[in-house]
Structure formats: structure tokens, C-alpha cells
């Protein structure tokens, strides 16, 4: 645990990729394989479910530190991180424990799950008293499932590849699914990650998916596309769907569905299980899971996406991500939700065919074979993501204007001769996401809360409101509709922080209400009606686009502006 905590401290202290690589390498070189196995798991984003309820952790800490609850809360608000707060409040360790990460996880921490509070009250203080401050913080983060440190999976891959002296793409391939909850890190598994490459590696795959190829965002104006990308005919253009990116793996008579986060999500989508009969063994498809059905209220005639132009007006179409979100969080999927929120896969790539890895074949070849396969498979839950024809970039730009009404985020541009790369690489060909501009409104900051992590103690999390009436209405008030945390520079955030402190009216626990003085342009990706919000509206991915220091509060937008966007 100590060595891992030291690694955490080193990774946390630097922003340099090279320093992080060096730190990981040094750790892996000296770590026992069973410890390294768990380190890889956590560093690449693995998170076991919370082992001990937060309430129990807090109560234990308050008891041990002899603090009243309100003072614990004040401390937590200042620190902005539960594990760190606990590590600062708990008595200093009396003993020192040298046991490795695997022993800590397997023998001590994982068995805590589901224990009665009395038992936890005995074990937790015993564990905590053996750890120095940084080990204690890391240990609690492992318990709460909130371990996070600034390394990407790609960086972990590179560290392991350098250590093992093999191609990092090979490591990336082996690492896919490593962090899924069904997987228990082991010394054996770790040694396989860094083993020399073998001939029969493909055959051993089971349900293993491929690393997802990720797109880069394209922000240049369309008149530069010709110069930047060449002729539009060399590109395969599709809609950018707003769903869950997924790989369907069909091998050995079984179907596995993996999400972009490399989680196994097969159980979450029972309506897709019939695909096991339609896809031949040795097939891997990349695509997007979306909600697909006839809209509940008939939209305007131009506001629907129709695959077949002859279809009736209420033809099924892709539905907002908000609907999909309703079923993602559910533990059990009842009949009603399956009927109300049915999904399909819009397939856009073929990664494996007849048991062969097709990723190094060009895009157009993969697409052709994908279409043949989809025709043969004859299953309504698997459809092609249509290719959009355009005579040039300008024509495509015009078509792209329909994105909003079609319920898509813009377009994807995939070079026809591009291979299927690993992660966000560009050396094997490129995918661009050409997204439409976000919705935006000018909103007023009315509540602020102190942030977490790097923003601890800074008022960095804000609630925004719009007016519920036009400027001429004397009775109008500000109605909150969105929270946003990102988009400001550190410098701007410090200024806002200072203003919040000066203009605080009232404090409700960690939240301060302020005299409305600040206007921000808020951007968001989607907007939907919502019964849960006071404003009646929910927006997706809200963030601050810019601080409108030029705009007085009275000139901020109103609910009517938001309602217009709904159409």
C-alpha cells in the first residue's frame, strides 16, 4: 500500500507525462506482480463498487477524531475530498504496515463489503491505524471507489509497453476489459499483459473487444476543409449519434456487448440478445446504441429523421439521450422501461469478420462488408448508420444544419482509406467529429458552491438561472435551470470566487446564494422537458462558454428563450 501511495503522490504532484511515465515504470519494476495487477486496474480507471457506505466512514472518523458532525462537515467543505478529509482528521498512525496492495485489497478491503456496522467499527480503525497519511488517503479512496489520478489509460499502456518492451497497441488490446467489474486482477493476468507477443494470441480472445478508435474534433470553418481534408469524396460521412458507443462481439456462440468505457454491458440490453442468432461467430461490430421509436408527440414535419423517405410521418427515429439515460441507471429493467425505451444498434464499422482482425483494412472495405453482413443478418435491432452523400463540403455543411432536428450532434468524417486505430491515435488514419455549435443562453449566477480536488475551497460550482418573464414585467424572478462547473480559466474562477464571497446573501450548508450580478453565456448539447426541475427544463452538458462582463443581469435570457430551443 505504501509503495502504491507513493506512486499516487508522485503522479499527483506532476503534470508532465514523462515524469508520470517514469514514476509508473519505477513502480512496476519493483512491484510484486499481484500488486502491479491491482495498480494497473486502478490506474486505468478500474473501480470496485463502494465497499463501505460513506455514512459509516464519516461516523467512524468523527468518533476517532472526536469531532462533532458540524465541524466534520466544515472540514470536508474546506478540503473538498472525503478521503483527504479523513486522512487529515484521523489520528496519526501508530504503526507502519508494509503489506502490498494485493494483500490490502484481497484480504482487508474487499471483504469489508456488506459487513454489519459493528464489524466495520472494529476493522476500520485497525486498518487506519497502520497507514501513514498518504497511504490512508489512498486506502479510503479505494474503499469509496473514488480513486482517480491524472493518468490516462494510454499512459498506463505506454508505461507497461516500455516495461515489457512490446508494442503499446498490443498492450492496449490486452488491456481492453481489464477494468470491468467481472474481472479480478491477478498476478497471472498482469504477467499476461506484459508477456512477450505470441502467435496464437488471437485465438485466446474469448469475449475480448478491440480498443475503440476515437475521433478528434474538427473546429475549423468549412471553407478550409478542402485544404485541410482534401476532396469530400475521399471521406465517408455519417451522422454523429448521441447514444452509447458499443462493440458487439460474437464468438463461440456467445454475444458480448462492451461500452466505450470498456464495461461489459450485455445484461443492460436484453433486446439485443437476439443478435446472437443472426451474427456468425468471429464478428465484431462497432456502433452506437440509441433509443429508437416513434416520437411520443408528433414533431413538426421537418423534425424527424426518416431512413426511408416513403415512411409514414410517425416513423421510428432516434430519441434524445435523456431517454436512454433513464434506463442506464436502473438496477432492474422492467417490462415497462423496455417497452418505453427500446434500443437498437446503429452499426458503423466492422472490426472482425470470420474470425480475422479487419482493423488494418481500409474504411471503405470494412463498410462494404458491414453492409453485406447487415443485409444478411435481418434483425431490426441492428441497422446501418447511414452514409450521407454530399457533392462537396458546402453541400454537407448545408445538410448538417438539420442535425438539431434529426436529434444528432453533427457529422462524423472518416477517411475512406483509414485503418481502424487505437484510441485517439492519428497514425493509422483519422476520424473527425464535426459537431454543431452548442445551444447557448445568457444566464445569471445565483448560487455557488465550493469545488473539489484542485478547486477545493474555491467557489467553482455554480447554479444558473434565467428570468421567468420579459424585461417589462415587474414581478419577474430568476428561475434556476442548470449547474455548471467548467469553462472558466483559473484566473476567471478566482475573480468569480472573490465576487461570490463579497456578494453572498445567505449560506445553506455548502451552498451560498449571491446577489445576482454575474452573467455567463452557457452552452449545452441538448434540452428536454423535465418534471424534476423547477424550470421545467433539463439541459445536457451545460458549461460556461464565456463570462458576459458586458451584460447587465436584466438583459440575461428568459425561460421563453429556452422554450424556443425545445422546438
Amino acid at each position: 500500500m505504501k509503495a502504491f501511495a507513493e506512486l499516487y503522490t508522485r503522479l499527483d504532484a506532476t503534470t508532465s507525462s514523462n515524469a508520470k511515465l517514469a514514476a509508473m515504470r519505477e513502480y512496476f519494476e519493483q512491484a510484486a506482480p499481484q500488486d502491479a495487477a491491482w495498480a494497473v486496474y486502478f490506474l486505468s480507471g478500474g473501480r470496485p463498487r463502494q465497499l463501505v457506505p460513506t455514512r459509516v466512514l464519516r461516523e467512524q472518523a468523527m468518533t476517532l477524531a472526536n469531532l462533532p458532525e458540524w465541524l466534520f462537515e466544515e472540514s470536508y467543505q474546506a478540503v473538498g475530498d472525503l478521503a483527504e478529509t479523513l486522512s487529515l482528521l484521523l489520528p496519526q498512525a501508530e504503526h507502519n504496515n508494509d503489506e502490498g496492495l494485493a494483500v490490502w485489497l484481497e484480504d482487508k478491503l474487499l471483504p469489508l463489503r456488506g459487513l454489519p456496522p459493528e464489524e466495520l467499527a472494529e476493522r476500520l480503525p485497525m486498518f487506519w491505524s497502520q497507514l501513514d497519511r498518504s497511504s490512508l488517503m489512498v486506502c479510503i479512496k479505494l474503499i469509496t471507489g473514488s480513486f482517480r489520478v491524472g493518468v490516462s489509460k494510454l499512459l498506463v499502456t505506454r508505461a507497461l509497453a516500455a516495461l515489457a518492451d512490446i508494442d503499446s497497441k498490443r498492450v492496449a488490446q490486452r488491456l481492453v476489459g481489464y477494468t470491468d467489474l467481472s474481472h479480478r486482477p491477478s498476478a497471472e493476468g498482469y504477467l499476461k499483459l506484459i508477456a512477450a507477443e505470441s502467435e496464437d494470441e488471437h485465438a485466446q480472445r474469448g469475449g475480448q473487444p478491440y480498443p475503440f478508435f476515437l475521433a478528434h474534433s474538427l473546429q475549423q470553418p468549412v471553407d478550409q476543409f478542402e485544404a485541410l481534408l482534401g476532396s469530400a469524396e475521399n471521406w465517408q460521412v455519417e451522422w454523429k449519434w448521441d447514444g452509447i458507443r458499443a462493440q458487439l462481439v460474437k464468438r463461440e456462440g456467445r454475444l458480448w456487448i462492451w461500452s466505450r468505457g470498456e464495461e461489459l454491458v450485455t445484461d443492460r440490453f436484453p433486446e439485443l440478445h437476439s443478435l446472437v442468432q443472426c451474427l456468425p461467430d468471429g464478428t465484431v461490430i462497432d456502433g452506437e446504441i440509441v433509443v429508437w421509436k416513434a416520437p411520443e408527440t408528433p414533431p413538426d414535419s421537418d423534425a424527424e429523421f426518416v431512413l426511408d423517405s416513403d415512411a409514414p410521418t410517425a416513423a421510428p427515429s432516434v430519441q434524445p439521450f435523456a431517454l436512454l439515460q433513464q434506463r442506464i441507471g436502473r438496477k432492474t429493467l422492467g417490462k415497462k422501461i423496455l417497452a418505453d425505451v427500446p434500443v437498437v444498434v446503429l452499426a458503423y464499422d466492422l472490426l472482425e469478420w470470420e474470425g480475422h482482425d479487419w482493423r488494418s483494412r481500409p474504411q471503405h472495405e470494412r463498410r462494404t462488408q458491414l453492409e453485406i453482413l447487415l443485409q444478411q443478418s435481418q434483425n431490426d435491432v441492428l441497422m446501418p448508420s447511414p452514409v450521407i452523400d454530399g457533392k462537396d463540403w458546402a453541400d454537407l455543411a448545408t445538410q448538417r444544419e438539420a442535425s438539431r432536428s434529426l436529434g444528432v450532434e453533427g457529422m462524423m468524417l472518416k477517411a475512406r482509406d483509414s485503418l481502424y486505430g487505437v484510441g485517439r491515435t492519428k497514425d493509422m488514419g483519422v476520424w473527425w467529429k464535426w459537431k454543431i455549435d452548442p445551444f447557448s443562453v445568457d444566464a445569471v449566477l445565483i448560487y455557488a458552491q465550493r469545488g473539489h480536488g484542485r478547486r477545493a475551497s474555491l467557489y467553482s460550482d455554480y447554479t444558473f438561472a434565467v428570468w421567468d418573464g420579459p424585461p417589462e414585467s415587474s414581478e419577474r424572478t430568476l428561475v434556476p435551470f442548470a449547474k455548471a462547473y467548467s469553462g472558466l480559466t483559473d484566473e476567471e474562477m478566482r475573480k468569480v470566487d472573490a465576487i461570490v464571497r463579497k456578494t453572498t446573501v445567505e449560506k445553506f450548508g455548502p451552498v451560498s446564494s449571491v446577489t445576482p450580478t454575474l452573467v455567463f453565456e452557457l452552452g449545452f448539447e441538448g434540452i428536454a422537458l423535465s418534471k424534476r426541475h423547477k424550470s421545467g427544463i433539463a439541459v445536457r452538458f451545460p458549461r460556461m462558454l464565456r463570462w458576459r462582463q458586458d451584460k447587465p443581469v436584466a438583459e440575461a435570457d428568459s425561460l421563453a428563450t429556452l422554450q424556443d430551443l425545445l422546438r
Binding site: D12, A13, T14, T15, A65, L67, P68, W70, L71, E74, S75, A78, V79, G80, D81, E84, T85, L88, L89, G451, H452, G453, R454, R455, A456, S457, L458, D490, R494, D497, A498, R501, K502
Partner: protein
């Protein structure tokens, strides 16, 4: 009767008709210490501890009308008996003891309870009412013994020197910088200081405090091999400025009590944070308050609401005093991350 009340000009003693650390110009002021938020220009008359005279004059002007007292020495003004007692914060820092008609009040100014060798150590003074600061008034703030921190700084410096990297340590130029210089192992390599630090070193040396030999950083060329082994002390405002360019490859660190928190450390964007403060930590505040025997406690700048509530729960008569010392409540951690601006020299 209240011997100290808050007025727009500062903390005021009505029977004595003088102010303690006023933030607006007044006729008579008693200065607890020379940090900028406590000692301001424009007062007609100043009273401070004798050991603080050099610093006070160097900061406010040689010609200020200043009277000094040795620690423990008493004067009487309008019937108020006044004496100054060590606060352990920086050189010349004092608590102000006031006695009038049998009532005793002590105003702490800023204080630290761990002795550090660069100023007279904090002495608890018995009183009926104690005016305390609360900069680090949360239980998350518990300082490690300073010897551990200096060990940490030594190791970091040694390690950098071994790799041929300069070691740039940011610390407030008055108090913190001299405490570091006094505490570290000066044998590791040359010690260079920023122009804001050196004048204060001089005053400390003149006050008989052991400060190792320092050189002015501006005198070194970028190619000078001495830089590869050097420790450079600079005020936080030098961070990110062009002044830093001369050091070539360096590791940087920040010494402050706020470095206790990972968030502040990361916002500061330095390689290392050393938790070293000139203020009392949470146990230190509680110990000092307990030692005064005061039943009434007035809490100024810092975590006022928290400390007041906690003391009330202990059965003391506590209340907040609104002052213009430090920053507003709990904004000081973010003030430490101001990279270009005038970070208040007094904080942390």
C-alpha cells in the same frame, strides 16, 4: 467594560483612546507586528515591541514616530496599563495586554505556538478576555514538527542538486523566508534570494538572529554552474514571472500552511508543497486559548464562525470580531494561488 471594540478604523481601546493594528490612519496605534495587514502607514504615533523596531521602520519608513517597549515592560496611558508579550509569529511580533480597573484583555495579533529560534517564543498571558486570530481554525490543520519539514526541504534540495536542478522555494519574504533560512542545512549548496527577501535578512541579522550567508539571485548569470546546486528563496509573486527564467531547469516548491491541502497544492502548480506556517494550527489555537484562562474569546480573521461555535460548545463566551486583517473568511487558500498579483505578504 469592553477594553477593545471594533471601529471602522480598527480595534479600539475606549478608555485608553488608542487603536491596535488600525487599518485606517489614527492618532495612536499599537502595532502587534510588521506584516502589511497589521502595520499600515499614516498613523501619527506608533508603539511596538523593541525587537520589531528595525522591521517596522524598514517597512513603514525610518522617520515614523515610534515608541518601543521591551517584552513585559509596562506603560500606563489614560489609566490603561499596557504591556507587550511574545507572540512567536515573526521577529518583533507581540500580544498586547491591557489592564483597566481590574479587567484584563489580551489581543494576540497573529501567533504561532511552536518556538522557531527567529523570534521570541509565544508566551500565554492570563486574561479575562482573549482576542485570537483563527487563520487555520479547522481541525484539518495540524502541523508536523518543523524539524520534519526542514528535513523535507533539505532532502528535496539535495535531490535536485544531485540532478543538477536549481531549487526554487517560494515563501513570504518577511518571517517565513528567514525561518526557513534559519532552519535548513546551509551546507547543501549556495543560497540565493530574491530582492524582496534580502533587506529583511539584514534586519534579522542585525537583530542577532542566525541567518546563513545569502547572495542576491539577480547577480547570477543563467550559465553559472552554482545555480545547479542552489536553493533560491523568492516571494510567491515571483512565480511565473520572467525573473524565473534565469534559473534554467528548476524544481519549485511553496512553503505555506495552506499546502496542507492537496487542492491548494495543485492549484499552486508547484512540484512540492511544504506545510510550514507562522500561524497556530488547530491544536495550537485551542491550547493557546486554554492557557490564557479567558472566559471570553473574541475571534478575528480566519475561520471565525467555526472557532466561535466550537468555543461556545466548550462553554466559553465566544464571539466574532470583524477586522480587515488577512483576507475574508476562508478565502486565503485561494489568495495563495494568485500567481502574478500582490499576494498578501502576511498570510500563512
Amino acid at each position: 467594560m469592553d477594553l477593545v471594540i471594533a471601529r471602522p478604523e480598527g480595534l479600539y481601546c475606549p478608555p485608553g483612546d488608542f487603536y491596535i493594528d488600525p487599518w485606517r490612519p489614527v492618532e495612536r496605534s499599537v502595532i502587534t507586528h510588521a506584516h502589511g495587514d497589521h502595520a499600515r502607514t499614516g498613523n501619527e504615533h506608533y508603539l511596538s515591541a523593541a525587537s520589531g523596531e528595525g522591521i517596522l521602520r524598514s517597512r513603514l519608513g525610518q522617520d515614523i514616530n515610534l515608541q518601543t517597549l521591551e517584552y513585559g515592560e509596562t506603560i500606563t496611558h489614560h489609566g490603561v496599563k499596557l504591556s507587550l508579550h511574545p507572540a512567536g509569529h515573526v521577529l518583533g511580533s507581540a500580544q498586547v495586554r491591557l489592564e483597566y480597573k481590574g479587567e484584563i484583555w489580551v489581543a494576540s495579533g497573529d501567533y504561532k505556538v511552536e518556538p522557531d529560534g527567529t523570534c521570541a517564543a509565544f508566551e500565554p498571558v492570563r486574561c479575562h478576555t482573549f482576542i485570537t486570530e483563527s487563520t487555520f481554525g479547522l481541525p484539518i490543520y495540524r502541523w508536523a514538527p518543523q524539524s520534519q519539514i526542514f528535513e523535507g526541504i533539505n532532502d528535496w534540495w539535495r535531490n535536485n542538486a544531485a540532478q543538477g536542478k536549481a531549487s526554487v522555494l517560494f515563501a513570504y519574504s518577511f518571517g517565513k523566508a528567514q525561518r526557513i533560512l534559519h532552519g535548513i542545512d546551509s551546507q547543501i549548496g549556495p543560497i540565493l534570494v530574491h530582492g524582496a527577501v534580502e533587506p529583511l535578512n539584514r534586519v534579522y541579522r542585525e537583530g542577532g538572529i542566525r541567518i546563513p550567508e545569502t547572495q542576491y539571485a539577480g547577480d547570477f548569470k543563467k550559465t553559472d554552474p552554482a545555480l545547479r546546486q542552489a536553493l533560491i528563496l523568492a516571494p510567491p509573486s515571483a512565480g511565473g514571472s520572467s525573473w524565473m527564467k534565469r534559473f534554467g531547469e528548476y524544481s519549485d516548491a511553496f512553503a505555506s500552511g495552506w499546502m496542507m491541502l492537496r487542492g491548494t497544492r495543485r492549484r499552486r502548480g508547484v512540484d512540492r508543497g511544504f506545510v510550514l506556517s507562522d500561524h497556530a494550527d488547530w491544536p495550537g489555537l485551542l491550547w493557546a486559548i486554554e492557557q490564557t484562562g479567558a472566559e471570553r474569546v473574541m475571534v478575528t480573521h480566519g475561520s471565525v464562525a467555526v472557532l466561535v461555535r466550537y468555543l461556545r460548545e466548550l462553554g466559553l463566551d465566544a464571539q466574532g470580531f470583524s477586522t480587515e486583517y488577512g483576507d475574508e473568511e476562508d478565502s486565503t487558500p485561494s489568495a495563495t494561488s494568485v500567481e502574478t498579483g500582490q499576494a498578501p505578504e502576511a498570510q500563512s
